[in-house]
Amino acid sequence: MSAYKDIAWNGIWKQNTILAQLLGLCPLLAVSTTFVNAVSLGLATIVVMMLANFAISALRALIPYEIRIPVFVLIIAALVTVVDLAFNAFLHDLYLVLGIFIPLIVTNCIVLARVEAFAAKNGLRAATVDGLMMGVGFVWVIGLLGAVREFIGQGTIFSGVEMIFPTLSGIQVLPADYPGFLIAILPPGAFFVLGLLIAGRNWIEARANQRMLEKRLHEHPPTASAAGA
């Protein structure tokens, strides 16, 4: 059970695809203009990552080591196409919103990275959970990024939610005559906000490390000889 806890902790925080591994920045920066867009892409990514990790874990015994990368790319591209078509056919309303994002997932190297680093070496259930948890780590960061950019850029939150839930509507947080802060919406704004998020993560990690070190020092005070060494 603790193995799954590790997988979850790795995906959500420790090995977070964006904050720690800095993977998949292309779709991340392009789509995180609003919270709703960002979370939509994130959810579609979770579906693809779980499917890809499951499929490759299931087929891993059949894939020769030398050609694993082309086979992984083939499988991921095929799965994304199938998901795209299935969404279009069975969940058309959602497809109208998410549709443009699904093909983008192919360009997301997180999927290939997890398949190569985890699914190809682990069992079915662990691989699927890893896909889910890495996806969750992606969603919360891209969602936060989208929310911050949307708030600074146009003073709203949840704008565009009516495309998914027609009864809801976005909230104007800042006064309606807020002129907007264009750079937050444009790609440079994505880099600024992402930089701040990464800095925040590093700060939290550094503080945690510092505490751990202090605790250890407190429990095992250095002896004179060790300090002199």
Binding site: T33, T34, N37, L62, I63, P64, E66, I67, P70, V71, L74, I75, A78, T81, V82, L85, A86, N88, A89, F90, H92, Y95, L96, E150, G153, Q154, G160, E162, M163, A176, G180, L182, I185, L186
Partner: protein, 234 residues
């Protein structure tokens, strides 16, 4: 000092492994291509039905449901790309009639000079040369800045920007005033995002001029015919 037999054995081993690897790659490619082709085949009818429903919904946005009584889907003609309309591919043009009398033309047009490239439009133009309505069908304008051309994104919900074109023709706004105010014309634009508005305004003006020029021939063509600009009467 090498053993020639050993080399030969090793070479044939390399060859065998290469062939085996290639065969596995081929097998994977075939299986997953079949998976994609199968999904495509299976979903194609549903995808086509959704695309048709989406088209009907778009037409419904520019053409009030009660204003015509014919079946638009059958009373349509093929339209090769027109320079004035800016499309790249063949599109359809739908002809709305009531009691057999022409009411309006509905067709797609595009502005290629948006801030981020192509802006797709759908317009309905009545027989009096008035633009009944205009809607943006696709665009990549900057979110929160230029995307107010799409009423879903327009923050002015009571009177979105794009509705100012409704019911206007060259009789009320002369051709040379069919521009945004910044260019000395009639139509408003949002400060700081003129390019998107200018692209849509100019494209709608071109579409209106094109429809006025070709209206009679377009209505005269048989259903499912094809509009050929050069072949017709001058």
């Amino acid at each position: 000092m090498t053993d020639p037999l050993g080399i030969a054995r090793r070479e044939s081993g390399v060859l065998r492994i290469s062939l085996r690897t290639a065969a596995i790659m081929l097998a994977f490619t075939m299986v997953f291509t079949a998976l994609m082709a199968g999904t495509y085949k299976l979903t194609a009818p549903m995808v086509a039905a959704s695309a048709l429903a989406e088209k009907l919904r778009l037409i419904g946005e520019v053409l009030p449901a009660g204003s015509y009584d014919n079946d638009l889907m059958t009373d349509a003609i093929g339209l090769p790309p027109q320079a004035l309309l800016g499309q790249e591919d063949d599109t359809r043009l739908w002809r709305a009639r009531k009691n057999g009398q022409p009411v309006a033309l509905v067709f797609e047009a595009a502005a290629r000079d948006g801030y981020s490239g192509r802006i797709g439009l759908i317009v309905a133009i009545d027989t009096g040369g008035r633009l009944l309505a205009l809607r943006v069908t696709s665009h990549k304008e900057t979110p929160g800045l230029g995307d107010y051309i799409d009423p879903k994104k327009d923050r002015n919900k009571t009177r979105p920007w794009i509705t100012q074109f409704g019911k206007l023709g060259f009789d009320s706004v002369p051709r040379d005033k069919w521009r945004v105010k910044k260019d000395g014309g009639h139509f408003d634009q949002a400060a700081g995002a003129t390019i998107s508005a200018r692209a849509v305004t100019n494209a709608s003006g071109r579409a209106l001029a094109w429809a006025n020029e070709n209206r009679d021939r377009l209505f005269a063509l048989p259903a499912n015919g094809r509009f050929e600009p050069q072949g017709g009467k001058p």
